[in-house]
């Protein structure tokens, strides 16, 4: 019987959570039919036979009142009967595959400090939530199960308990009303009890009277339950007998909950075919440490594989759920770098720091060394098991950080880098760095666009999203490296051929942009990501080298066009001291830097003050941009550079001046680009000299310090620089300063850019090539390159 009933109930459509069968069991409908019949019938009879007289005798309000009450009763009755009480759908197999066989029967959960037992429902395959019970009649688990009411042929649960309760209330009221009015009628028709109306009224009264007790009893019972906040099930099974009910909200709260709570939702919904989000690999993984960051740093023949499109796609992927495939092999290296970096540096500077080192390391590797040239670099190298080949990818390419913000920025930068590269490159044939240069340029550009933000963001993101953070971090590195490269390349180019430098200076805004970016990047290194050290060094090394080579012969020709300044700094940097920082020892770098600064200062002084200032300004801008030949990134140093560069290294100064003249032109183009870089530059010029000095000094000591957190990287870089290459370090510093200035718009900031500073000085020195040449010293850098350091 029970099973049969259960089976039949299974077929019930009312509130069945199971598959309905076609079986129709009439017996379960008897109570509800009876109840409905009685209710409707009696009331109808009452209205027909009793109410007319009552209306006449007492008032028309009687039927109105009764009608309203009856309507209320019906509505609640219907709701209680047809409303889903809160049936739980059966659990999927996936949900219970662990629970079905080995799960305990009960699971305890604490509710407001009281342990409540949840029982495993074998039919529905889940642990019944608190207050849930399985109705055998309906064969469903019902939420807040009260009881199964045969009179409505429905479970009373969370959703329809209110209607059931109101039904009881209203029915009681209705019954009371009907009974009362019937009594009045009968009492007034005592003498004619046999009359039809009277008989009917009597019958109705009897029915009402008959059901009065149960209904009133039930109503009273439920009123108590509501006040106590219990369900019938709990009351009857004695769950809280002598105990505390964890579900009570107080008497008023409970009443309010029953009567005024929002209508709960239905769970037994039709399976809607909503469009699922497409799951398309590859997937983003949050764990950064596994990522291999590839920083490709090529030596002179650095070829940047700027995959800006890739990075772009990565960004897109992020947005469109299309995640970028796991970083490409190159990127993998990055990841490695990153991971290494992160591990070495710690969370924050993970991405930045390691990158810097890597970059630095890569530079060294490029130059033929596989170990950092400076002890500082070694310090940061722990993550590198072996000197990984750092490939300076364009920022965009390499850093495919999930960081959407950053990546987008980065991507843009990378794209820009492309632009830059696409522009005629003044690379000298001998300048193998050209490609590298490009890389830098692109990255600087990229960085520049968002150097500080990306850096800081990368840092932050690194924390939040290791993946992303790493990427941005990588980028900075790339940027830094590229700036140098760009610095070198444009400068070197120019240096190499004097014309090149000018050309590079005159290159479309990209160069300034790149320069600024470079500079910015340099500054970034302070952020920690970019290895200011590395790129700077490279830049510095290259620059001075290039500049020396090129500036000297082409200084004059170069200078004029270089007036722009950016180029000159580069060229100056290159010519006088094409030493690669990464190749040079720290002392050498420091001296180079000093020299550069001095030269620049001298040059500046040589040049007409106004022009100089202009140049400086330009320089700053130029440096940002022009120095930037490599795009403004490099120039970040520039701003610093100009000031400092001008007067000091003759090479710088000369080149700078020249560049200024030329650079002005190009500046104009680049001005917009330089803005961000140049803004700092603007400030930088004023402080450039000081910055240079400061850089200079700082390079020796405080450069890194200036940058503080990121200065980690830089400091090592700076220090070596200061003694050795005044120019290069200053350039790099300048760049760094620019970059940092970009961030901070402060020369001290520029100082932060260790490596980059060097670039600037070199750039500056370029303008002063003639003088520089006089002071040129030859320094053998890593990889056997010989740099001329202007003293």
């Amino acid at each position: 019987m029970k099973t049969l009933a259960g089976f039949a109930h299974r077929g019930s459509t009312f509130s069945s959570g199971s598959v309905t069968s076609a079986r129709f069991k009439p017996t379960k409908y008897i109570p509800v039919s009876t109840a409905a019949t009685l209710l409707v019938g009696s009331t109808t009879l009452f209205f027909v036979f009793t109410c007319p007289w009552l209306t006449k005798v007492i008032s028309p309000a009687v039927p109105l009142y009764n009608g309203l009450v009856f309507l209320f009763v019906l509505a609640n009755f219907s709701m209680a009967t047809f409303m889903d009480p809160g049936v739980y759908p059966r659990a999927d197999e996936d949900e219970d595959k662990d629970d079905d066989f080995r799960a305990p029967l009960y699971k305890n959960v604490e509710i407001k400090g009281i342990q409540v037992r949840m029982k495993w429902c074998a039919t529905c395959h889940f642990y019944r939530p608190p207050r849930c019970s399985h109705c055998s009649v309906c064969d469903n688990c019902v939420e807040d199960f009260d009881h199964h009411c045969p009179w409505v042929n429905n479970c009373i649960g969370r959703r329809n308990y209110r209607y059931f309760f109101l039904f009881l209330l209203s029915l009681s009221i209705h019954m009371v009303g009907v009974f009362s009015f019937g009594l009045i009628f009968v009492l007034h028709h005592r003498e004619r009890l046999g009359a039809l109306h009277t008989t009917v009224t009597l019958v109705v009264m009897c029915i009402a009277g008959l059901f009065f007790i149960p209904v009133m009893g039930l109503t009273g019972f439920h009123m108590v339950l509501v006040a106590r906040g219990r369900t019938t099930n709990e009351q009857v099974t004695g769950k809280f007998r002598g105990g505390v009910n964890p579900f009570t909200k107080g008497c008023c709260g409970n009443v309010e909950y029953v009567l005024c709570s929002p209508l709960a939702p239905r769970y037994m919904l039709d399976p809607r075919k909503k469009p699922h989000a497409k799951i398309q690999p590859p997937f983003i993984r949050p764990d950064l440490s596994e990522r291999q960051i590839t920083i490709k740093v090529s030596d002179n023949g650095i070829h940047t594989t700027i995959i800006s499109s890739k990075s772009k796609s990565s960004l897109d992927g992020l947005d469109d759920k299309e995640t970028q495939p796991p970083l490409p092999p190159k990127a993998d290296r990055y990841n490695q770098l990153k991971s290494q970096l992160t591990s070495s540096e710690g969370k924050k500077h993970k991405s930045t720091a390691p990158l810097c080192f890597h970059q630095q390391l890569s530079c060294h590797s490029l130059s033929g060394k596989t170990h950092p040239s400076t002890p500082a670099m070694y310090k940061f190298r722990p993550s590198f098991g072996t000197m990984p080949k750092v490939h300076y990818h364009t920022a965009g390419e390499k850093i495919i950080m999930p960081d959407e913000r950053k990546t987008s920025a980065i991507l843009e930068e990378g794209v820009r880098g492309h632009d830059y590269r696409s522009e005629p490159n003044l690379d000298l044939p001998e300048y193998t760095n050209a490609p590298l240069h490009r890389t830098f340029q692109s990255s600087p550009l990229q960085l520049d666009s968002d150097p500080i933000n990306s850096r800081s963001l990368s840092l932050k993101q690194g924390q939040r999203r290791p993946e992303k953070g790493q990427l941005p971090a990588l980028q900075p590195q790339t940027v830094t490296s590229t700036p140098y490269k760009s610095v070198f390349s444009p400068n070197t180019l120019s240096n190499r051929n004097g014309s090149l430098s000018y050309d590079s200076l005159l290159n479309p805004s990209i160069s300034p942009a790149t320069a600024s970016e470079c500079m910015a990047h340099r500054g970034m290194p302070s952020m920690g990501f970019h290895s200011p050290y590395l790129p700077t060094k490279m830049c510095h090394i290259r620059e001075p080298e290039m500049q020396r080579h090129q500036v000297a012969p082409t200084y004059s020709p170069v200078m004029p066009p270089r007036g722009v300044g950016r180029q000159s700094p580069h060229s100056r940097d290159r010519d006088p001291s094409p030493v690669r920082y990464d190749n040079l020892s720290q002392t050498i770098m420091a001296s180079i830097q000093e020299r550069k600064e001095m030269e620049e200062r001298e040059k500046r002084q040589m040049l007409h003050g106004r022009s100089q200032t202009h140049i400086y300004a330009q320089d700053s801008g130029v440096f940002d941009g022009g120095y930037g030949l490599p795009p403004n990134v490099c120039y970040p140093d520039g701003p610093r550079g100009p000031g400092s560069r001008g007067p000091t290294p003759p090479a710088y100064g000369g080149s700078r001046d020249n560049l200024m003249g030329v650079g002005l032109v190009s500046y104009g183009q680049r001005t917009p680009v330089l803005r961000h870089a140049g803004s700092t530059l603007g400030r930088a010029p004023r402080t450039s000299s000081t910055s240079l000095h400061t850089d200079h000094s700082s390079t020796n000591s405080s450069h890194s310090r200036a940058t503080a957190p990121e200065g980690l990287y830089r400091s090592p870089a700076h220090q070596p620089h200061s003694p050795a290459m005044p120019r290069s370090p200053s350039y790099s510093h300048q760049k760094l300063s620019y970059i940092s200035a970009h961030e901070r718009t402060d020369s001290p900031q520029a100082m932060k850019v260790n490596g980059q500073m060097d670039c600037h000085p070199s750039a500056q020195g370029a303008t002063h090539s003639p003088s520089r040449h006089s002071n040129v010293k030859k320094v053998t850098g890593v990889g056997g390159t010989t740099y001329e350091i202007s003293v």
Partner: protein
Amino acid sequence: MGTEMGQKRHSASLANKVFIQRDYSEGTTCKFQTKFPSELESRIERTLFEDTVKTLNNYYAEAEKIGGQSYLEGCLACATAYLIFLCVETRYEKVLKKIAKYIQEQNEKIYAPRGLLITDPIERGMRVIEISIYEDRGSSGSSSGSSSVSGSTAR
């Protein structure tokens, strides 16, 4: 989606499901545990996940709030003999729609790129939040296979 021509298409297949259980510490109000499951350790960042669950919890709390609007709804329903339910959406239903939209958006933006899929808890009776974990099963030549597979498995 977005399979590029000439590129191998990676397909994702359902690997595992994680169920975020309800948090009953405050009674039977709908609230999900914000504890970060270990299976998602390598798939998604903790903060993202917690944000999602907290937002969902807030939505549900807002839906179940007993206040002015719920009073009004109840009175109106009584006055119209509950015929109002045929015409107007209840507050809870409105919030459920918001939740569905939110989950859809989260899936598209955050979870699907990570190979995860959140199922609306309403489909599970608000007992659990089901998160499906997909794995990259490598590339497949078919261009339509992965999406359909993922779609079907997601269900």
